[in-house]
């Protein structure tokens, strides 16, 4: 009974985005993509925190604050999915930024306490190596998670987001070359 109440309470908190409780094990995902375009060319596509149109899952990006620390954006996804994100660090010289998710329904992305780095480094051949990294906990903060909110589900979902995003970025930059 207490467990059920605690579970209900945590679900309610989730939906108001208030909860910071999390599962026992933080997960990490690293996806790299080699792109035949200069770091500056890649950066020019991704550098506006309020334009994530390069990612195939993002329909629209809304928000304000430019590219300064603390800028906020909302990623609009299919089926009314939304991800609220905040920019924590931005370095245009190093072609790098760090952001975290402020609020997301675990039905949209099954993670909590998510933070992420996006970085572009020069490759030996004049092209770029783009690295997208995430640190997060699974969507279910307690023991015995349902399969759709397990550690594996969280890793799979984030890996999918990174892979589809980076392969589309590669396509955009390499087309016509």
């Amino acid at each position: 009974m207490i467990k059920t109440a605690a579970l209900l309470f945590s679900i309610i908190l989730f939906h108001t985005g208030m909860v910071e409780a999390h599962g026992p094990t933080r997960q990490k995902v690293i996806v790299k993509e080699q792109i035949s375009a200069s770091p500056q060319a890649v950066w020019d596509v991704v550098k506006d925190f309020h334009d994530m149109s390069w990612h195939p899952a993002v329909i629209k990006t809304e928000g304000d604050g430019g590219n300064s620390n603390g800028a906020k954006r909302v990623l609009m996804l299919p089926n009314d999915g939304k991800i609220h994100e905040i920019l924590e660090k931005y370095d245009s010289e190093k072609h790098s930024f760090f952001y975290r998710i402020e609020k997301v329904d675990v039905k949209v992305l099954p993670v909590t306490n998510y933070s992420s780095w996006f970085n572009i480094a020069p490759a030996d051949d004049g092209g770029s190596i783009v690295t997208w990294k995430g640190a997060f906990y699974r969507g279910f903060p307690n023991n015995e998670p349902p399969p759709e909110l397990s550690d594996q589900a969280a890793v799979d979902a984030v890996t999918g987001v990174y892979k589809s995003g980076l392969s589309n970025l590669k396509k955009l930059l390499e087309k016509g070359s």
């Binding site: 910071e20 409780a21 026992p24 094990t25 933080r26 990490k28 975290r100 933070s115 780095w117 640190a135």
Partner: protein, 330 residues
């Protein structure tokens, strides 16, 4: 040793004072440098044993599932490791470097600490909001102490009479009387306190507040917060130098360590150390700090005088090293 001094005193009492002074010096000298670091690797269910003198990985011990918390006894002979996923505690032999026993405890064992004399082990259960008191040799449960929500970091004071518990989701630190096995005082700190560490004199407790990006400083005589010091983003672990003059805090989202002057109670330097630094501890003798970088799977060795990184030693996957991971460290 004592016989020797006795003989000397009998020989000539005028050397008595000199020898007493020598004894005082010997007693006040901190213990020897730690031999090994025991790093819990949450990503591959193992503990990396790192030889600190040779700066290399000596052994990898398989433990339960997703190990996080660690406590090394003062004499270095007993190592306790929590496995929140498999809900087990492992007891390792710190000399033979092998598992002695393991036991199922609670629903989410996380923080762990051992008393200075090694007579009791305390374990924080993240889900049950309990502190378990365990037998240090067979890990049997001796008592359960109800505490605040999501207990995490634990520290025992120098005489073993007090246990301090960070209660992450209550924004408090509880003080437990270890004879009564109950909370006798609750202290409000910053937001989401997780890692805590006492200085080597037992005078202060430092508390890393993950969500308010600051450090609460508790005076352990008054049991009051005497200062709140802003640090980097998402502070997680704390180390205090043997002379208690410098405090180092890992800032997870800033990939840095904040260096705090313990007298001025402010940050004096910030050092980039690598990605997602987590567990951190000061060697009891040689002016070094060890830091586990969770994202890049390495143990960073930092010189506390020069404030320079002097080595990076590979660990297993996703090192946490949450707790006292070397003997006699703070």
């Amino acid at each position: 040793m004592q016989n020797e001094i006795q003989i000397q005193l009998n020989h000539s009492t005028r050397y008595g004072i000199l020898f007493l002074a020598l004894i005082a010096l010997l007693i006040s000298t901190p213990g020897s440098a730690a031999q090994y670091a025991f790093i819990t690797n949450q990503g591959d269910d193992s503990v990396s044993v790192i030889n600190l003198k040779e700066s290399r990985l000596t052994a990898t011990l398989q433990v339960g599932s997703k190990p996080a918390g660690v406590a090394v006894s003062n004499n270095g002979k007993r190592i306790y490791v929590t496995n929140p996923e498999s809900r087990e505690v492992y007891l390792l032999d710190g000399i033979k470097l092998k598992t002695i026993t393991h036991s199922q405890v609670g629903q989410g064992p996380l923080g762990i600490a051992v008393t200075p004399d090694g007579s009791r082990v305390y374990l924080a259960d993240w889900y049950e909001d309990l502190v378990y008191v365990l037998d240090p040799e067979d890990l049997s449960i001796l008592a359960k102490i109800p505490v605040g929500e999501s207990p995490s970091g634990l520290e025992v004071n120098l005489d073993g009479e007090r246990l301090y518990v960070a209660e992450r989701d209550d924004n408090t630190v509880s003080v437990i009387d270890t004879h009564l096995n109950q909370v006798v005082k609750r202290i409000e700190v910053g937001k989401r306190p997780f890692g805590i560490r006492m200085d080597s004199r037992g005078k202060r407790l430092y508390v890393a507040n993950v969500a308010s990006n600051d450090l609460s400083v508790i005076d352990l005589d008054k049991l009051k917060v005497i200062s709140t010091i802003p640090v980097g983003s998402t502070p997680y672990g704390i180390a205090v130098t043997p002379n208690s003059q410098r405090v180092f805090v890992t800032n997870q989202h800033d990939n840095s360590v904040s260096v705090i002057d313990a007298n001025k109670l402010r940050e004096i330097r910030r050092l980039k150390v690598g990605e997602f630094p987590e567990g951190i501890i000061a060697d009891p003798t040689d002016g070094r700090i060890y830091i586990a970088n969770w994202f890049t799977n390495e143990l960073v060795v930092l010189d506390t005088e020069k404030l320079e990184i002097i080595n990076r030693i590979p660990t297993g996957e996703s090192p946490r090293a949450f707790g006292v991971f070397i003997a006699g460290g703070h």
